[in-house]
């Protein structure tokens, strides 16, 4: 054989003993193998490895691109900008133009990124317990659609969550032409049905409330967690922080709470009251303010001072006050709050009423109950569940699963193959918001656009595409539908429609589409409700981390310390200290809760400040089919609900069992140390709140010089509400691994920025975010034997991962304990999808190395490159750390100390600025601004911040 005749791959003869299959049989076998390989799953999408002939515009390797889109949670949209690195979404930032974001996001939007990349997401259709394919699903649903069309879709029911999408409404209406008998049910487990009923009572029509906290000087929160829950929480937080930034215009937040939440933690005065006493207080307050109908109530000596103080404050601030009531209050009482706001002249000033943002608003509890009734009566033959998980989160009293079993044709479309998916005939993977076109409205009605960042990872389809599988109507792509429905009615005046549409896509929203305030007649006087007997009351509330359970499989959120309890990986039956004492219970004791015919075992957590005779039950736990992360975490509170109400009488019986919690901060006390400093407004005005800065003492080692930049951070404790968004944003930005429940129990959580929570002796809560202090005289640097943690030329204290050998001496020597160590291999190197979602600019750390906050060094570098290309220096505000960017209250400011005009220098010039543990002479670059509270002298404002009260 000549060399050029030789095959490229040498052919070796078959070894003896192996039958030559022959060419035809070989091809048969190959074909069969290929067919088998393809039968199991649909396989990865075809990928072509071709070089670019022409570079696509905007895709530059190493240069991230940002796209405006919308993340939808419980029907409402939060506008976000999503960072894309070579086509992979890697970080969520707020959209400064969007009213629900204003540049910041909540923890859920941050964690949506991990949800998108979650390897446990549903990846293929399932039929019964078997994997199926999309063509099979298409054929089945088409058949069902044809069968349904024969009787006008009389047996067709569609169950969704809250819907604010115009394209959905459009599709539903066109579906109605083909299936006039079809019904649409809505169920979100924590939908505020009571607000709608209250609006009906007061105004005979449903309304949504828009709060303008920034215009209010006296805010009275009646168990309304406007800072922590709901689609407007981020906007509220921003406005709320704005009211506190101006010392010349003191404001006061009075929080009356059942289960402590963020408003109480940030209040100037707070009081914990069980729901009946809280309601009675509102009615007596109304009587004091001259609203008729409440005079007959017996006085409550425990709250008389509060009523008087509130009445005085509200009377003194007509038109500048605001009352807001939460879902634990009965609809008549909430209607009374509407009346009070109107009487006080707040309507149109501090609060606007708008037409409901949700389409076809109504009680979700009633809607689901009606569906269950229909299912039991056999009136449903086809049920489409689009994006909910009612088998898990329907009230235990409804027994949705049993009703569902009687429906012959059921389809569930969801992100996960969850509890509902496993009980439906078909499960179809639903596209994530980052991989579909669509729309949703913000809390104020702003139409927001959902744009895909990436093709669906697992071939999932959008709700619209799934609904379209039923019908023979013309297939219109999601984009075309969006362009037609939303793009067709842009409010643009005389603008080129195409240009206007492009601008909407760029902004991620339709500017100016917010709902206009309604002009309503005087509210009707509601009749006082029956306040009910004083029984042990369960209060169901969304969890600060997993929400209603939809985020249960999100490890970032599971490991996020809940703001007030600092628990991770768990929920607990929350009890007031007095109630727990009376029952002889302490943290970790197990109790059996009984309600709605169900018994649930739950561990107890004693929460200071909670109302007596109540049990706070965070929902969203006890999932059975959430995924590898969320299964079996905590207990399922939904089973204790008899309906969609958020309060219910509950029985409680200690079982004698014990439960260990993974809590990141055990104690409440600062041990008398001035860590999270606080003062009253009066003290601040008298100059007693500062200055705190002392002259630094000399160090043994020579000082560094910083000719170019000197980075520093200032954190405003007065603005921080303790939401924890910074922790999650940092986790997403810096590829911080989760460690799991057992490791958190050992004290090995990895968060680079933690939010400390303290309680004063008076019971007031103080939050303090603690990132690395980047000390000028850094104790960590001196003790590292290999120089793995070093001072850089801009004052950063940087950690050199590949030099670190893991002596952990630096952590011992860090007085702030901000260093985190990879005790084990925490970073997941196996899951491909998790790898794809990581920030390519940040090293993934291996086991045995120390890590910590580095002021988002990669962002500084990016800004430096941009500035150097243009031959200028980095300007103020150009480097925004992840925590600073996400903070809803703008509590964190980062910048250059060498720039006298920088925001961070202005913040540090304040007499209220102080350094943590300054006496150690570490000279931190991160400093704090002291928290100023404004207690009401009428309530014995003792200068210690908000009162405790149980």
């Amino acid at each position: 054989m000549k060399p050029e005749d030789r095959p490229f791959i040498p052919i070796r003869p078959l070894p003896a003993g192996v039958d030559d299959p022959g060419r035809r049989r070989f091809l048969h076998l190959m074909a069969a193998s290929l067919a088998l390989a393809g039968a199991g799953c649909s396989g990865p999408p075809p990928e072509h490895i071709l070089p670019y002939v022409k570079m696509p515009e905007g895709v530059l390797p190493g240069q991230p691109a940002f796209y405006a889109t919308t993340l939808v949670r419980q029907g409402y949209g939060q506008g976000v900008l999503v960072e894309s690195n070579l086509g992979r979404p890697t970080k969520v930032e707020g959209n400064p133009l969007h009213p629900a974001s204003r540049g910041a996001t909540d923890v859920f939007s941050q964690a949506a990124l991990l949800q998108f990349w979650d390897p446990d997401r549903s990846q293929a259709p399932w039929q019964g317990g078997q994997l199926a394919s999309w063509p099979e699903a298409d054929a089945t649903l088409l058949d069902w659609g044809a069968a349904l069309a024969r009787d006008g879709g009389a047996g067709l029911r569609i169950l969704t969550g809250t819907m604010t999408s115009a394209t959905w409404l459009d599709q539903w209406r066109s579906l109605g032409k083909r299936f006039p008998g079809a019904r649409w049910h809505r169920y979100d487990p924590l939908h505020d049905d009571g607000a709608l009923r209250a609006a009906e009572l007061a105004f005979r029509r449903p309304v949504d409330m828009l709060l303008h906290l920034e215009r209010a000087r006296v805010v009275v929160s009646l168990d309304a967690d406007f800072l922590g829950q709901g689609p407007a929480a981020v906007a509220h937080a921003r406005d709320f922080a704005a009211t506190r930034s101006d010392p010349a215009r003191p404001t006061r937040l009075y929080a009356l709470e059942v289960v402590p939440g963020l408003p109480g933690a940030n209040a100037d005065e707070r009081l914990g009251l069980p729901p009946p006493r809280l309601e009675a207080l509102v009615w007596r307050l109304a009587a004091r303010l001259g609203v008729d109908g409440a005079e007959s109530l017996a006085p409550d000596s425990g709250t008389a001072a509060w009523e008087e103080a509130l009445a005085a404050a509200l009377r003194a601030h007509r038109g500048e006050s605001l009352l807001v009531a939460g879902p634990t209050l009965s609809p008549p009482t909430r209607a009374l709050v509407h009346v009070l706001n109107q009487e006080l002249g707040n309507l149109g000033r501090t609060v606007d009423l708008i037409a409901p943002v949700e389409f076809e608003p109504g009680s979700h509890g009633d809607s689901l109950a009606a569906l269950c009734e229909d299912m039991r009566e056999g009136r449903v033959d086809t049920l489409l569940i689009l994006g909910g998980n009612p088998v898990y989160d329907a009230p235990g009293g409804l027994d949705f699963a049993a009703a569902l079993a009687g429906v012959p044709r059921t389809v569930h479309a969801g992100l996960y193959r969850d509890e509902t998916a496993r009980r439906c005939a078909w499960h179809l993977p639903l596209a994530h918001d980052l991989e579909r076109w669509g729309d949703a409205r913000g809390f104020d009605g702003t139409v927001s656009l959902v744009q895909p960042l990436i093709r669906p990872l697992y071939g999932a389809r959008s709700p619209r595409e799934i609904l379209a599988m039923l019908g023979a109507e013309e297939r219109e792509s999601d984009y075309d539908a969006l362009r037609r429905v939303v793009g067709g009615r842009l409010p643009g005046r005389g603008e080129n429609p195409e240009a206007a549409w492009q601008r909407c896509l760029q902004e991620g929203q339709v500017a100016g589409s917010a709902s206009a305030p309604l002009r309503l007649p005087a509210a009707a006087r509601p009749r006082p409700p029956d306040f009910g007997p004083r029984l042990l009351t369960a209060v169901f509330l969304p969890d600060a981390a997993v929400d209603d359970g939809a985020f249960a499989n999100n490890a970032w959120l599971q490991e996020l310390p809940r703001p007030l309890t600092k628990l991770t990986w768990d929920n607990a039956a929350l009890l007031a200290p007095a109630t727990a004492r009376a029952l002889g219970l302490e943290n970790g004791d197990e109790v059996e809760l009984s309600a709605a015919g169900h018994r649930v075992r739950a561990p107890v957590w004693v929460l200071p400040g909670q109302a007596e005779e109540t049990v706070g039950i965070p929902l969203g736990y006890g999932r059975r089919d959430a995924g590898r992360v969320g299964n079996g975490v905590g207990f399922d509170g939904y089973r204790l609900r008899s309906g969609a109400g958020v309060t219910a009488p509950v029985g409680l019986k200690p079982t004698g069992g014990r439960h260990d919690f993974a809590c990141t901060q055990a104690g409440d006390s600062m041990e008398g140390r001035p860590l999270a400093r606080h003062a009253t407004a009066a003290e601040a005005q008298a100059g007693k709140a500062g200055p705190h800065r002392k002259e630094p003492r000399d160090s043994l080692y020579p000082a560094y010089s910083y000719p170019d930049y000197a980075w520093a951070m200032a954190i405003d404790l007065n603005a921080c509400i303790g939401c924890g968004a910074c922790t999650i944003a940092c986790q997403a930005e810096n590829n911080i691994p989760v460690v799991g429940r057992e490791e958190v129990m050992k004290g090995r959580q990895m968060h680079w920025i933690r939010v400390d929570r303290y309680r004063t002796e008076a019971g007031a809560v103080l939050f303090q975010p603690v990132p690395c202090m980047h000390c000028e005289n850094a104790p960590c640097e001196a003790v590292c034997p290999v120089g793995a943690t070093v001072h850089d030329s801009e004052g950063l204290n940087v950690q050199v991962y590949n030099r670190c050998i893991g002596t952990r001496y630096c952590s011992n020597n860090c007085p702030y304990k901000v260093r985190r160590f990879n005790f084990l291999q925490y970073a997941d190197n196996d899951e491909e999808s998790l790898k794809a979602g990581r920030n390519p600019e940040v090293t993934v750390r291996r086991r045995g190395v120390m890590e910590k906050c580095n002021y988002c060094l990669q962002r500084i570098t990016r800004a430096r490159l941009a500035a150097e290309k243009e031959g200028r220096s980095i300007s103020d505000g150009e480097v925004v750390t992840a925590c600073e960017a996400v903070c809803p209250t703008r509590a964190i400011v980062f910048g250059n100390l060498n720039d006298p005009a920088s925001r961070v220098n202005r913040a540090k010039a304040s007499p209220l600025d102080y350094a943590l543990l300054e006496e150690l002479n570490t000279r931190p670059r991160t400093t704090y601004r002291i928290r100023i509270t404004n207690p009401d002298p009428a309530l014995g404002g003792n200068g210690k911040g908000g009162g405790g009260g149980e």
Binding site: R673, G787, N813
Partner: protein, 457 residues
């Protein structure tokens, strides 16, 4: 030299009983190594400690495979048993050099019959101690980055770090101790070479004896070398533990940051070292019938050192408490209060009982002369000193500056495996030493025989 025709016979001088000659001394000591059968208790102990040694290395393999997360260490308590064990072992490794070098320079005769095994104890303890900082690393395979070796990246250790000083101190101490021990062994190795029955043993001991023939020239050089090494080793006794203490004292953690640490650690080291000498000497003399060489006098002297050092240790505890309250530093006060009443308070009070309370029994001569009592006391002191190391390392870290970051350390199975595994490894090494090398210096004992005989004249 005494008369060749009439070899001297020892008199009872307290540290040596009467009736021993050059030959009988050599017979008695070499017998342990060369001819005495091991017997079943010996084998049992050997196998048990060998199993423990295997467990220690098995645990090390698991540690390297999985990471230091198998221990109970965390943030804030980033140092745990590994560092506590390190300091404890280093402390134990102190008495040997103190006995052989310092007492040699001070011409204390009672060192003669205990210096050899005490030095061996030092070597083994310091060697094991040296392992722990390496095991403790997150990435132990890079431990050599502490060495200033030339490399193309021009990366050096970070000289401000006490861990670098520590590395040099321990390495120096181990080297000098080894040399000192070996030089002292040379005449005895020659004796064993001459008495060995099998060719292999003759070769092995002969090689190790470096051609020693007992010439006057050899003896002269040997004496010089030994004296010089004793002079070198003496400052190291003080230095090593002082440097180890700087690992803590340089840190700013309350409970670490204290100028009293260097003398405190040295005293504590002698305290635990002499306790360990007693722990080893008592079974040793009984097992091999060496009561004539390691006499009650030896035990009593060692007990007196333990008593004296226990008072230095007590003074140090007191000084720490005093400075905390005298300075008024709220963090120092808090850590003292935490030791008294906090989560680890039982350990603190048990430590005080073992280190301060129990040694006071040694004021009584009857206790000092009761061998079982001394044995129990020595074990309790060892336990107490381990608890002291644990408290310094762990209790200081668990409640430092920020209450929000306070935590607890709970030892895991692996923490205990490394502690008990290292003890088994230590005993195993000691057993091997007893069967391979003379536990008491033959040459120096012969000298003592002559001295005692001459004193009687």
């Amino acid at each position: 030299m005494a008369s060749r025709t009439q070899p001297p016979v020892s008199r009872d001088i307290g540290v040596l009983k009467a009736g021993w000659r050059y030959a009988s001394i050599s017979d008695k000591i070499a017998d342990t190594v060369l001819s005495r059968p091991t017997g079943w208790p010996g084998w049992l102990l050997f196998l048990a400690t060998f199993a423990g040694t295997l467990a220690f290395f098995g645990a090390t393999a698991w540690l390297f495979a999985v990471g230091v997360g198998i221990w109970g260490v965390n943030i804030p308590v980033a140092w745990g048993y590994a560092i506590g064990n390190f300091v404890w072992w280093i402390g134990i490794g102190h008495a040997g050099t103190f006995i052989s070098a310092v007492l040699y320079l001070l011409r204390q005769r009672w060192r003669t019959s205990i210096n050899r095994f005490a030095e061996s104890m030092t070597l083994f303890a310091a060697g094991i101690a040296g392992l722990f900082p390496i095991l403790h690393l997150g990435r132990p395979w890079f431990f050599y980055w502490l060495i200033p070796y030339p490399d193309v990246m021009n990366v050096w250790p970070q000289w401000r770090s006490p861990l670098v000083w520590d590395f040099f101190a321990i390495a120096t101490y181990l080297t000098v101790s080894l040399l000192f021990w070996y030089v002292g062994l040379i005449p005895d190795l020659a004796t064993l070479r001459d008495r060995a029955a099998t060719p292999f043993k003759r070769y092995a001991y002969g090689l190790a004896a470096l051609g020693w023939r007992g010439e006057a020239r050899h003896w002269a050089r040997y004496e010089h070398a030994y004296l010089l090494l004793a002079g070198l080793a003496t400052p190291l006794v003080v230095l090593v533990h002082s440097v180890v203490s700087l690992d803590f004292a340089v840190g700013n953690t309350p409970g670490y940051h204290s100028t009293i640490f260097p003398p405190y650690f040295v005293a504590g080291a002698l305290f635990s070292g002499f306790a360990m000498v007693l722990t080893l000497a008592i079974p040793l003399r009984r097992f091999f019938g060496l009561e004539d060489f390691i006499t009650g006098k030896h035990l009593e002297y060692a007990a007196k050192v333990v008593l004296a050092t226990s008072w230095i240790v007590l003074y140090s505890y007191g000084a720490e408490i005093f400075t905390a309250f005298y300075s008024g530093d709220e963090f120092e006060v808090a850590i003292v209060m935490d030791r008294w009443t906090g989560a680890y308070a039982p350990v603190y009070w048990a430590m005080l009982a073992c280190n301060v309370g129990v040694p006071q029994l040694l004021w009584w001569r009857r206790v000092r002369r009761s061998v079982p009592a001394l044995f129990v006391i020595s074990l309790l002191v060892n336990l107490g000193m381990w608890m002291e190391r644990f408290l310094i390392v762990v209790s200081s870290l668990h409640h430092d500056f920020m209450p929000s970051a306070w935590g607890m350390f709970y030892p895991t199975f692996w923490d205990w495996a490394f502690l008990f595994g290292s003890i088994a490894f230590f005993v195993w090494l000691f057993l091997v030493f007893l069967r391979l090398l003379p536990a008491i210096s033959i040459a120096e004992m012969r000298l003592l025989v002559r001295e005692s005989a001459e004193e009687g004249r």
